[in-house]
Amino acid sequence: MDRAARAELQQLFERLAAGDRSALEPAFGLLRPALRRFARHLTPSDAEAEDAAQNALLKIFARSSELDLERDALTWALGVTAYECKTARKRGQRQRESGETGLAAMEARGASPEQAAIARELEAAASEVLGTLRPIDIETLRALMHDARPDVPAATFRKRLERALHRLQVAWRSRHGHD
């Protein structure tokens, strides 16, 4: 998402927070592809990414009236999506543990060998970008992924997570040219 679109999204969320219903459809149009792409980077399959992005979208619009206008709307939306991806991944992991394994499970999930290869490439790209972050950001993102929050107040962790996600986004954009 470029700077102009990001500013537009911020304005749309400010209007939504004020109760302006006409801002919903354009905000949806801007956010939907961005969250889908972001979720695809954080989940192993298209199906899990789609589920996570949809759940995140519904939560974002449900909470948009209470958005703190000092906060960046996109960073907040990505934070919500990251949590949804974590939930989707855990759900998928549980399903895989209790169900089939190996190639049969992959086929059951609808992931072709080509999709698996793409997923591996994306994972490698994500690892590369993660390597450019500060240790505190990596630690924060790892804590989010493994649901192991460090012994800090919730507000401090939330702020750290917000900063880490923002830096991750900037690093990804500088390497790959898009969000």
Binding site: A5, E8, L16, A18, G19, D20, R21, L24, E25, P26, F28, G29, L30, R32, P33, Q54, L57, L58, K59, F61, A62, R63, S64, S65, E66
Partner: protein, 184 residues
């Protein structure tokens, strides 16, 4: 701007539903302030029917306007806070007997209604300064909600107390709002 294809229509409809539910929850946050005010009035005011009526109207307006949004929605919380002096002052001063000013004697709680109403009016007037658009809507909503909050307290004084409080709210809020508008 990205376009929405037909497969996303269902998701957009669900997002709309989620937004409306979120607005309703947001509107209901006003109950954190309104409910204790109504409970206090029901406990202390002799006219429970009036407290029920004014309280019901206050809840419907506060939740409905916050749900709807805009300048009227933004007026709800400042107005409920502004409604605290005309609610509390007559209830706290009701055992105070009479007060005579310039030869005229009034029950102290009646004076509480008028002073509380004037305080509410000033608070509303100053709050409206932040409104760049829709200041008129803000003032109408805020005056109504603060007035209803005041009725919950001034019910113990009767019709004269409520009328005095309402006049004081209007007399103090609108001139302050107009003056601040002229200066800004």
């Amino acid at each position: 701007m990205a376009t929405i294809d037909s497969t996303d229509d269902a998701l957009l409809a669900r997002a709309r539903g989620a937004y409306e539910r979120g607005r309703l929850v947001y509107g209901m946050h006003a109950l954190w302030l309104a409910a204790p005010m109504i409970a206090l009035s029901l406990t202390m005011a002799p006219e429970r029917g009036l407290s029920f009526g004014a309280g019901g109207l206050l809840v419907a307006l506060a939740v409905g306007l916050r749900y709807r949004g805009g300048a009227m929605g933004r007026a709800v919380i400042p107005a409920l806070l502004a409604g605290l002096p005309p609610l509390l002052m007559p209830l706290l001063m009701r055992a105070g007997g009479h007060c005579c000013i310039a030869g005229a004697c009034w029950p102290v709680c009646m004076i509480g209604c008028i002073v509380g109403g004037a305080s509410a009016g000033l608070m509303i007037g100053f709050s409206s300064v932040l409104e760049r658009e829709g200041r008129g809507s803000f003032l109408i909503a805020a005056t109504t909600i603060a007035g209803l909050s005041g009725v919950l307290g001034c019910a113990i004084v009767g019709a004269a107390g409520m009328a005095g409080m309402l006049l004081a709210v209007i007399a103090a809020s609108w001139p302050v709002a107009m003056l601040s508008r002229a200066r800004s």
